[in-house]
């Protein structure tokens, strides 16, 4: 077991408390929606970080896992009329399965080839869903009316009640990532990132480890997709587009990949930027691009890395 740093535990704890406190501080639906959105995207970014931060697989195709999760949940709930919990399980399964397929196709390629391959496979799925499977995906218009859970007589269409569902899953994801990172499996994945050849020589099955990491990452991405669909009560092929993959890459890297809170910080920053800047300038996405470039050049470890440097000082 890797020794858990106190600073990491502290930051994660503060973060969870902040999100837990949000509904008590403000009853405003808009702010709660924003906080729920941040947690949903955080699950996605945390999932993404299993692939990039932990294992070193730079994927540009995570939108496929995310979008397929959203669609699987929507189909399960809308067409089959199954309950929310089954929809979530279906989403996790669909995300994991698509990741497994990606991993299988790309099992012989690594590095840049892997990035390009994931980008193009995701684009293929996006095209197929938008054009060939229009009757299933709702085409460009998407499918409206994705339901929220119904249980125990609680009204989950109330923003605050649904907030707690997302909060619970967010905490579970944080815990899952923490356990994974300190487990022997996490240790092995870190080894693959640092030196794949050496890991292979030591006796690890690098291909299987990469496939496992990508699948776990896909499972969490699918979960996030289902939650987003349920939060927006709407799903469209846009969720499968490359901009989604790009967004999650930006968020994870900006916050700091490979750290327990980095992805969450990145998501929070980007969402707040979006909220703050889109009111004053319509060109905020270009500005985000500039920030992102500066960050890759001067802050390769992200905001969390900067925080860590200051902490040590």
């Amino acid at each position: 077991m890797r020794q858990v740093k106190h600073s990491e535990v502290l930051t994660v704890g503060v973060l969870v408390l902040l999100f837990a406190a949000a509904p008590f501080v403000t009853g405003d639906e808009g702010w709660l929606y924003l906080a729920a959105l941040i947690m949903t995207w955080s699950i996605f970014a945390l999932g993404y970080d299993i692939s990039f931060g932990l294992t070193g697989l730079l994927s540009f195709g995570h939108a496929a896992f995310f979008g397929m999760g959203a669609y699987a949940a929507s189909w399960a709930m809308l067409s089959a009329g199954l309950p929310f919990s089954v929809g979530i399980v279906a989403a996790i399964g669909a995300g994991g399965l698509s990741a497994l397929v990606f991993g299988f196709v790309g099992r012989r390629v690594s590095g840049l080839y892997f990035s390009l391959m994931t980008l193009m496979l995701a684009e293929l799925i996006s095209i197929v869903m938008t054009t060939r499977l229009r009757h299933l995906s709702g085409g460009v218009d998407g499918l409206p009316g994705v339901p929220r859970p119904q249980a125990f007589g609680i009204d989950f269409f109330n923003a605050a009640n649904f907030y707690w569902v997302i909060f619970a899953l967010f905490c579970l994801t944080l815990a899952f990532c923490a356990v994974l990172k300190s487990s022997p499996l996490g240790q092995a994945l870190r080894g693959v990132r640092q030196n794949a050849v050496r890991s292979e020589q030591v006796g690890f099955n690098v291909g299987a480890l990469r496939l496992t990491a990508l699948t776990l990452s896909g499972c969490l991405s699918g979960l996030a997709g289902a939650l987003l669909a349920s939060l927006m009560m709407y799903v469209s092929p846009q969720l499968l587009g490359w901009k989604m993959s790009g967004d999650v890459v930006i968020m994870t890297l900006l916050g700091g990949s490979g750290t327990p809170v980095g992805p969450v910080i990145g998501v929070t920053l980007v969402e707040l930027l979006r909220e703050g800047l889109s009111a004053t300038t319509e060109h905020w996405y270009g500005l985000l691009g500039v920030i992102f470039i500066l960050c890759t050049i001067y802050l390769p470890e992200g905001v969390a890395g900067l925080g860590r440097k200051l902490w040590r000082r």
Binding site: F52, G56, L58, V105, G106, R108, V109, S110, G111, L112, Y113, S115, L116, M117, L119, M120, L121, E123, L124, I127, V128, T131, R132, W242, G246, V249, I250, L253, H283, Y285, G286, L287, L288, G289, V290, F292, I293, T296, I297, P300
Partner: protein, 285 residues
């Protein structure tokens, strides 16, 4: 026959872009994600020049120069600080460039569709072998073929090409022998973006100029260079021909399946020969 010429013209366009991509990769070791955005910028610049001067040929000459300057600036500001980083960070930096370039184009030209008028003398079509072939497409084919020849000659037969190849093979050794590798890298990147600019300019009269044009074509280019082998210009020619023909004939006979078929070619290539059909890998990715 007309489908064949259309396929060739698409192939030439793809080649101009993939050649830039693969040159930049071969010499700099960087996959330029923003290459499609640069191509789009090229198309808009060409549109602007053509719209103000009413002269397509002037646009075709000016665009690569403008884009070369843009490329040199990008190389200096964005890429130079991160050559010794892992490949992932270089990919990420160029990904950020896409957002910046797209936003810049949106700010200057807006969201409207633009188009460049076909230059006089090349509008209309010629009648060959019982079919009508667009004169402009024929021009694109001839022009593209000339560019292929020029590039091969430049890289393999001239002193400048020798310096380029030396710097890509072993930058440290080339530097010891008196080559300013930093400048060579700037030049290569500028050359690549200039090629993309030419691509944007000649695409102007064939395709609608819009923000999304860069992304759809860059994916095809990635397929081309993966099929051809990264960093391999000969492979890029073959890959461009293969994808160009698949697109043209697919559009003719099975328009609905064309994207799926194109990506299918890629998936099969990755499964069977991940190093590309013509790949002799000098550098590892």
């Amino acid at each position: 026959m007309s489908t064949f010429v259309i396929g060739l013209s698409i192939a030439m366009l793809l080649f101009l872009l993939s050649a830039g991509l693969t040159l930049i990769f071969g010499m700099l070791g960087i996959i330029n994600f923003a290459h499609g955005a640069v191509y789009m910028l090229g198309a808009y610049v060409a549109y602007q020049v053509a719209a103000t001067t009413h002269n397509f040929w002037l646009a075709l000459c000016v665009t690569p120069l403008v884009l070369a300057v843009v490329g040199a600036i990008i190389e200096r500001l964005v890429l130079r600080p991160i050559y010794d980083r892992p490949h992932e960070f270089q990919l990420l930096a160029t990904f950020g460039l896409i957002l910046v370039l797209e936003e810049a184009v949106r700010m200057i030209w807006g969201l409207q569709l633009r188009s460049i008028a076909t230059p006089p003398g090349l509008s209309g079509s010629v009648h060959v072998f019982g079919t009508d072939i667009s004169k402009y497409r024929l021009f694109v084919v001839v022009f593209g073929a000339a560019m292929v020849a020029l590039l091969f000659f430049g890289i393999e037969r001239t002193r400048l090409g020798l310096i380029l190849r030396a710097s890509s093979n072993n930058a440290g050794m080339a530097e010891m022998l008196g080559v300013e590798v930093g400048r060579v890298r700037t030049a290569i990147f500028a050359l690549g973006t200039a090629l993309a600019g030419i691509g944007g300019a000649i695409a102007g009269p064939m395709l609608p100029i819009q923000l999304q044009m860069g992304f759809s074509v860059i994916l095809d280019c990635f397929i081309v260079i993966i099929i051809g082998g990264l960093g391999n210009i000969r492979g890029a020619v073959a890959g461009a021909l293969l994808i160009g023909m698949t697109r043209a004939y697919g559009q003719q006979y099975a328009a609905e399946w064309i994207d799926i078929a194109t990506y299918g070619v890629l998936v099969v290539t990755l499964l069977v020969r991940p190093q590309g059909l013509f790949g002799i890998r000098l550098r590892t990715a």
